[in-house]
């Protein structure tokens, strides 16, 4: 950042030289360079020249300046090689539709390779964003203003500080005003020749803020200053900040744990049905999850424009797809194997291999990209040190919703009743006229369908690829067994328990050791309570 502005200032100081440097050397070099010159400079490969050009465009006050900068960010500003000119480019049927950057009139169509977007790098991107932020300080929308200030907090650039000062004078929105205060106080603390009172006041002003920039500047002051008063003030403020930060970090860990737990829950809950209720060890469970994930992908392909809402279609779709596959598996394989859980384990493992390879052939072994809808990306910023990522947040709620739905299905619906009856005692159930054949198929379908739904959620977090399922199968079994087979509440407790435990161990022991420790713990636990946390008396338990 600083270095950019340095360059810029140098350049402003010696326009002539810069002009001379610029590839198009026109006689009007003495005057401040026009926007068109700046645009021409963008053809250069040298990012310093581009940086200067951007500064020029920003300061030119040209009515399209803002639009041009935005276009630059969005790779909408292209270098038309044929005519060696910079133009606004729209990607249109395999080529570029060009328009004149200054006038906006069309320059016709060129093919894809004839024009290349003007390349900018992080430095320039940041530069543009800051310029935009400065501009946004006078934006009517207070939200935008606040974001702008947030962005500029910690910046030492005099022009920025100046802009902030001006804004502070006429700012009426308190939130924005506070943000500006913080920014300016930091500036004061950074400023080597500000006086002690001003600094103490500044420290007092920022003491409540959790902004990292604040913390850093305070740390610097605490170590660098020679005024005892200031040091004490700074240290006191730091302590307060650290205390609060620590609290938020614990909250963070718990959230991470819950989120991991919700993933485990989603992955395991379907298994809790097929394994717990039916006593079937479904090794293909992971692949049913995978199918759900691929369904999400396919749905997105069908509605290329509908990223925002296509998920809502994907959920039922995934449920149906996995449920159908599940029913097919049940009808073709598992029904021959009831009462022989170990055999179901082997057969379904074979099924899982087949499903994987099938997916490899249909979708290729490459991972598929699932677009995250905007409402699921980003984070809920509670304060500068504590934020909850939306996708995780939604998935936690989603997992709980699925859990409760399933619970009600099993409690309230006729199917649920029959399922429980069959799971208690197959023979009696049949004697009472329950068609256990049908019930088995439906139960298995239900479990599989839920696996599919889990796939939709996982597609938002991880790879959509043929190996997706394998990654979760063992964990799922651990959760079910640990929680107690055939006990949904057990599964819930186990999932969140293991998730949170894992997240608390991870910082101490590292990701791998954490996982190993959890596994070993489960192994020992099963030794002690072979039927898991919440043992279930009943057929499923007896069978195994």
């Amino acid at each position: 950042m600083q270095r950019v502005l340095l360059i810029v200032l140098l350049w402003l100081g010696a326009t002539g030289v810069a002009g001379a440097q610029a590839p198009t050397d026109d006689p009007a070099a003495a005057d401040p360079p026009s926007v068109s010159d700046a645009l021409a400079d963008l053809k250069s490969r040298d990012f310093d020249i581009k940086g200067a050009a951007i500064e020029t465009i920003a300061r030119s006050g040209h009515e399209r300046a803002e639009a041009l900068l935005q276009a630059l960010l969005d790779r909408g500003l292209v270098h038309d090689r044929a005519h060696d000119r910079i133009a606004l480019g729209e990607q249109a049927d395999g080529g570029w539709a060009l328009t004149d950057p200054l006038t906006g009139d069309s320059l016709g169509q060129v093919d894809a390779r004839a024009a290349r977007p003007v390349i900018i790098n992080n430095r320039l991107r940041e530069q543009i964003r800051n310029l935009q932020a400065v501009a946004a300080l006078s934006n009517p929308d207070s939200g935008r203003r606040r974001q702008a200030v947030q962005r500029l907090i910690g910046s030492a650039d005099p022009t920025v500080i100046q802009a902030l000062r001006e804004r502070q004078a006429k700012e009426d929105n308190t939130a924005v005003a506070d943000a500006i205060d913080t920014a300016l106080s930091i500036a004061v603390l950074r400023d080597p020749d500000s006086d002690l009172h001003a600094r103490l006041a500044a420290i007092d002003a920022v003491a409540g803020s959790l902004e990292p920039a604040v913390k850093n500047v305070l740390r610097d002051r605490a170590t660098q200053t020679d005024a005892a008063a200031e040091r004490n003030a700074a240290e006191k403020a730091l302590k307060a900040i650290d205390a609060r930060t620590a609290r938020y970090e614990t909250a963070d860990t718990i959230f991470f744990g819950l989120s991991l737990g919700s993933v485990l829950l989603l992955a395991a809950i379907g298994l809790a049905i097929t394994f717990g209720v039916m006593g079937v060890i479904n090794m293909a469970h992971g692949e049913l999850i995978m199918l759900g994930a691929y369904t999400t992908y396919v749905v997105q392909q069908i509605f290329p424009q509908g990223h925002e809402w296509s998920l809502l279609i994907a959920i039922p779709a995934a449920f149906l797809v996995s449920a159908l596959v599940g029913i097919v598996i049940e009808r073709c394989v598992i029904r021959f194997l009831y009462g022989r859980p170990l055999e179901t384990l082997l057969a379904t493992f074979g099924v899982s291999l087949i499903l994987q390879q099938a997916v490899r052939l249909i979708f290729s072994p490459l991972n598929r990209s699932v677009v995250t809808p905007d409402w699921m990306s980003g984070a809920l910023q509670i304060n500068p040190v504590f934020s909850l990522t939306y996708n995780r947040l939604y998935i936690i709620f989603f997992a709980l919703a699925v859990f409760l739905t399933l619970l009600t299905v099993l409690k309230k619906t006729r199917l649920g009743l029959q399922v429980r009856a069959v799971s208690q005692n197959r023979i009696t159930a049949r004697a009472m006229g329950i068609r256990s054949e049908r019930v088995n198929a439906l139960t298995f379908g239900l479990g599989s369908g839920i696996a599919g739904i889990a796939g939709v959620a996982l597609a938002q977090l991880t790879n959509v690829g043929p190996n997706l399922g394998q990654a979760y199968i063992i964990d799922s079994f651990m959760v079910v067994v640990f929680g107690g087979v055939g006990n949904l509440w057990g599964t819930l407790t186990a999932a969140f328990g293991l998730g949170i435990a894992n997240k608390f161990i991870e910082p101490l022991a590292g990701a791998v050791l954490a996982k190993i420790m959890v596994l070993v713990f489960i192994i020992l636990f099963i030794q002690r309570k072979p039927r898991g946390l919440f043992p279930q008396r009943g057929r499923a338990a007896e069978d195994s």
Binding site: R420, G484, N487, W489, R528
Partner: protein, 287 residues
């Protein structure tokens, strides 16, 4: 599926368990039959034994004594707690309260099934359980009293007299002809016999016989009766049975269980004339 309210119960039950990693604690030492001290009046003492499953009391302050060499019949309607009682004696189920002693010294509530079996209690299950993949003879071999350690089993072949003993036992239950058939292939009645034979091979002090004549023909029933009476004297025998005829034919003392405790006890006559029993058994006796 569990109910939310049982969730809490489960939780309590989880943390009530005192022994963490139970397996790591040394178990009770095995007791060889020799240590059984039958000096007292009784060979089996059950006092105030209570067992409950989720609130339902299968045994309710049950008190019962068996004398050495006696043949005791236990009757009672379904759910009276007959099988649960046997489970307690054989260590399959642990009582919530009460004491259960075998002889003067052996506290059955603290012993594993294995120890109890080695100590001299043999059990024939209601549903005949034999080893289907083994021949009748092999079943007896496995049941035979004697060291049951792995190395012994690996290195010590069966001796001649052991062979004769098995043969004679098979003969007593009339299965000598079936000696080399797979137990799984025997008829229901034959399985019952085989299992009795296996229990005999254990040389038990106390036999628990659970519904021995289910699925037997008339003749078989009679022979069972003889057999059991023959056993009484050197062994103590406890027979659980529904069939009144059968009971009458063998019993001298009868205990009636009802709702987990002793309703009446005495000779068949006394018991049958006991009003409480009649009340409980109205319509039952036919079955």
């Amino acid at each position: 599926m569990s109910r939310p309210d049982s969730f809490a119960a489960n939780l309590r039950e989880t943390f009530r368990r005192d022994q963490v990693f139970g397996p790591l604690r040394p178990g009770t030492r095995p007791v060889s039959p020799g240590h059984l001290d039958t000096g007292g009046k009784h060979i089996l003492y059950m006092e105030d034994v209570t067992v409950s499953f989720d609130g339902f009391k299968a045994l309710n302050d049950l008190t019962l004594y068996i004398e050495p060499g006696e043949l005791r019949c236990i009757i009672g309607p379904n759910g009276a707690g007959k099988s649960t009682m046997m489970d307690v004696i054989t260590g399959k189920t642990r009582p919530d309260t009460g004491v259960c002693y075998f002889g003067q010294t052996l506290d059955l509530t603290a012993m594993s099934e294995t120890d109890i079996a080695t100590a001299g209690i043999g059990r024939k299950f209601q549903k005949p359980t034999v080893f289907p993949e083994h021949t009748a003879l092999e079943n007896l071999e496995l049941a035979m009293a004697g060291p049951k350690g792995t190395w012994h089993a690996l290195l010590k072949p069966v001796t001649g007299e052991q062979r004769d003993w098995m043969a004679s036992t098979l003969d007593t239950v009339g299965l000598l002809g079936e000696r080399d058939r797979l137990a799984g292939a025997l008829s229901h009645g034959q399985k019952q016999w085989l299992e009795i034979a296996m229990v005999l091979m254990q040389k038990p002090e106390l036999l628990l016989v659970d519904e021995p004549i289910a699925g037997m023909t008339r003749q078989e029933v009679e022979r069972t009766a003889e057999l059991l009476q023959g056993l009484a004297g050197e062994h103590s025998v406890m027979v659980v049975e529904h069939d009144m005829e059968f009971i009458r034919s063998i019993a001298n003392t009868v205990t009636v269980l009802h709702q987990g405790s002793v309703l009446a006890e005495g000779s068949m006559q006394q018991v049958q004339n006991d009003p409480k029993v009649i009340e409980v058994y109205l319509g039952e006796s036919s079955s």
